[in-house]
């Protein structure tokens, strides 16, 4: 079965027209929004029931971004890994680059929430920071 919620890219052909369909996540209503694009420019947004939907749709089709959360190894702590996140959004297509950048990193306990693990991870402009306090091992 195809997942109808998937953001789909229907190429209009020679004119460079794109129609993208997405589910708004700004509230539980979950409007099915259609965004008409031409040469990378948003031409129209339909299907949303409020301005927040339009804002979401435009940002999602022009520069989709996400917070990435993951884990890095830590030694000398009460457990072997510590949780981390990007301190701000990173471009969606860079998510796995952020994850790859975290592989092989090993911190030493103690660490505290907000400690910077990597500055400007994968050239995204966001720092990776610690999200759990890990005291020195038991």
């Amino acid at each position: 079965m195809l997942n109808e919620r998937r953001v789909s890219f229907k190429n209009g052909g020679i004119s460079g027209m794109d129609i993208r369909e997405l589910t708004c996540i700004r509230c539980p209503i979950g409007c099915q929004i259609k965004v008409e694009m031409e040469n990378g420019e948003v031409k129209s947004v339909t299907g949303n029931s409020c301005p927040r939907g339009e804002e979401y749709a435009v940002s999602e089709v022009t520069h989709p971004s996400r917070i990435v959360t993951s884990l890095v190894r830590i030694k000398g702590g009460e457990r072997p890994v510590v949780s981390v996140k990007t301190a701000s959004d990173v471009p969606k297509e860079k998510m796995m680059d952020v994850i790859s950048a975290l592989k092989g990193i090993e911190l030493t306990a103690p660490v505290h929430i907000g400690d910077v693990v990597i500055k400007d991870v994968a050239g995204c402009g966001a720092d990776v920071v610690v999200t759990s306090d890990i005291p020195e091992g038991e």
Partner: protein, 481 residues
């Protein structure tokens, strides 16, 4: 050269080993799985039958009645959970009365004590939730419920405490009869691991007993594995009935029993379908049958399953147990076709074969035989005074690992470090009940694996559910990134 080698560490093999370990004999038990109680012995009704069911004069009848008596005694000496809750065979229609009477007569012939036919009014006093359709019932007060795991484990531990050796993860591939220089017969056993020589060989291989038997005997036997599916319900449903409720077989087929378990859950099953000897899968139809037919015995069967499982009974074509020395192979003893009431019969079969083999080998009873065994202490069952004593001895008895069944780290360490200790998560589960409760190890699995790894001195990756390839942990995060 071993005096006796037993193939199979199920309840029957373990019972034989326990009996023989009372003698001055060199005993080996070979098991293809990673622990005792891994085949039929772990997946059955856990019922200690009183003995009215079997044909008078059959081996089933003989060993059932004696086994019932022995379990009453052994549960105390070997400290495994058993409760004489009594069983009821319900007739759900008036036409069944004759069959109930027939069972009563058969029970008398088999020497079953205390049998009584109850009419509906007496029956409802005993079991208020019994089905409106129950017209009468055979009451067998000596019927009971047992923890099938811990009975098997207790037998094996006692055998090991008395010097019997166990090898696991070892499958018998070939058996050859040989003659030694002094002219005596012995058996050479080739396995997936080491080879062994033995004077006497006992076949307690469960659903594979025909394969083992036919390796050495020309009088072939044939076993059909018969699958039985069960559903185990939450302890909140455990008080629905206090006795084991059997149904008379009807045109709908053999009945489904509904019983409390010795640990306070409610259980329903089994189905009966011929199966492949490795097929322990449950099916949607099977589980549905258990629920719909089981519901016939009671007013309302609660739908509170916590797990379902399937076991295989070793049904031999002749319909009875095959217990004794093979006619054409001196020194080769069978305990084959051990289907219901096999769990009940096991200690009696053990006693019978043990005595026979000891005589054959002119063995003598050991002076220093250990006849008692202490089970793993249970914080859940202990009173506060006992709890405090245990915690004082070892504070890890206050560290709860399994919250559903209230099992502590102390109990789990005990299970791993004791005689024939647990080496797998299932082994810990069957010994301590950690992971046996309503969350089915959702919480405690993550706590049990580190304890097993530490106690066994292995990595997390090497901890398995039940040996073989049943690993849980598959490397570290980002290994594949």
């Amino acid at each position: 050269m071993r005096d006796v080698t037993i193939i199979g560490a199920g309840v029957t093999g373990s019972a034989v080993a326990m009996e023989l370990a009372a003698y001055d004999l060199d005993i080996l038990v070979i098991e293809k799985e990673s622990d005792v109680c891994e085949g039929t012995s772990k997946a059955n009704s856990g019922i200690v039958h009183s003995g009215y069911d079997a044909e008078p004069g059959s081996l089933k009848a003989r060993f059932n009645v004696e086994g019932n008596r022995l379990i009453h005694e052994l549960s105390r000496a070997l400290d495994f959970p058993f409760r004489e809750n009594g069983s009821l065979v319900l007739s759900l229609e008036e036409e069944g009365r004759a069959k109930v009477e027939e069972l009563y007569e058969r029970g008398l012939a088999n020497g079953v004590p205390g049998l009584k036919i109850l009419e509906r009014d007496e029956l409802t006093k005993l079991e208020p939730n019994v089905s409106e359709n129950a017209v009468c019932a055979l009451f067998a007060p000596t019927g009971g419920i047992v923890c099938p795991f811990n009975m098997n484990i207790a037998f094996a531990e006692n055998a090991a405490d008395n010097g019997a050796d166990f090898v696991f993860d070892t499958q018998v591939k070939k058996i050859t009869k040989k003659t030694s220089e002094d002219g005596s017969i012995f058996f050479h056993i080739e396995t997936s691991g080491e080879d062994f020589d033995t004077k006497v060989l006992v076949n307690a291989a469960g659903v594979y007993a025909d394969v083992i038997h036919n390796m050495v005997s020309d009088e072939k036997i044939h076993i059909t594995p018969r699958k039985g599916q069960y559903i185990l319900m939450d302890k909140n449903a455990g008080s629905l009935v206090s006795h084991t409720l059997f149904q008379l077989p009807t045109k709908m087929g053999k009945g489904i029993l509904v019983t409390p378990t010795v640990h306070g859950n409610l259980m329903a099953g089994p189905t009966a379908d011929d199966a492949d000897p490795e097929d322990t899968s449950t099916t949607a139809e099977g589980l549905d049958t258990v629920l719909t037919r089981g519901a016939l015995s009671v007013k309302a069967l609660p739908r509170m399953p916590i797990t379902s499982f399937a076991g295989l009974r070793a049904h031999e074509d002749g319909g009875d147990f095959i217990v004794g020395e093979a006619k054409d192979v001196p020194g080769f003893f069978d305990a084959a076709g051990i289907e219901s009431p096999g769990l009940t019969a096991a200690p009696a079969i053990g006693k019978y074969l043990g005595t026979l083999i000891a005589e054959k080998l002119s063995a003598r009873k050991k002076a220093d035989h250990i006849s008692e065994r202490k089970g793993i202490p249970s914080i859940a069952l202990a009173d506060d005074e006992e709890r405090e004593k245990l915690i004082k001895q070892d504070p890890s008895y206050a560290k709860v690992v399994c919250r559903c069944e209230l099992v502590t780290e102390g109990e789990i360490k005990n299970a791993i470090t004791r005689t024939l200790g647990a080496r797998t998560v299932d082994g810990v589960k069957r010994r301590t009940r950690a992971g046996m409760g309503r969350c089915q190890a959702g919480f405690c699995l993550a706590r049990t694996i580190p304890i097993l790894a530490e106690q066994l001195g292995v990595s997390f990756e090497d901890v398995t559910k039940s040996g073989g390839g049943s690993y849980y942990i598959d490397g570290n995060i980002k290994d594949l990134i």
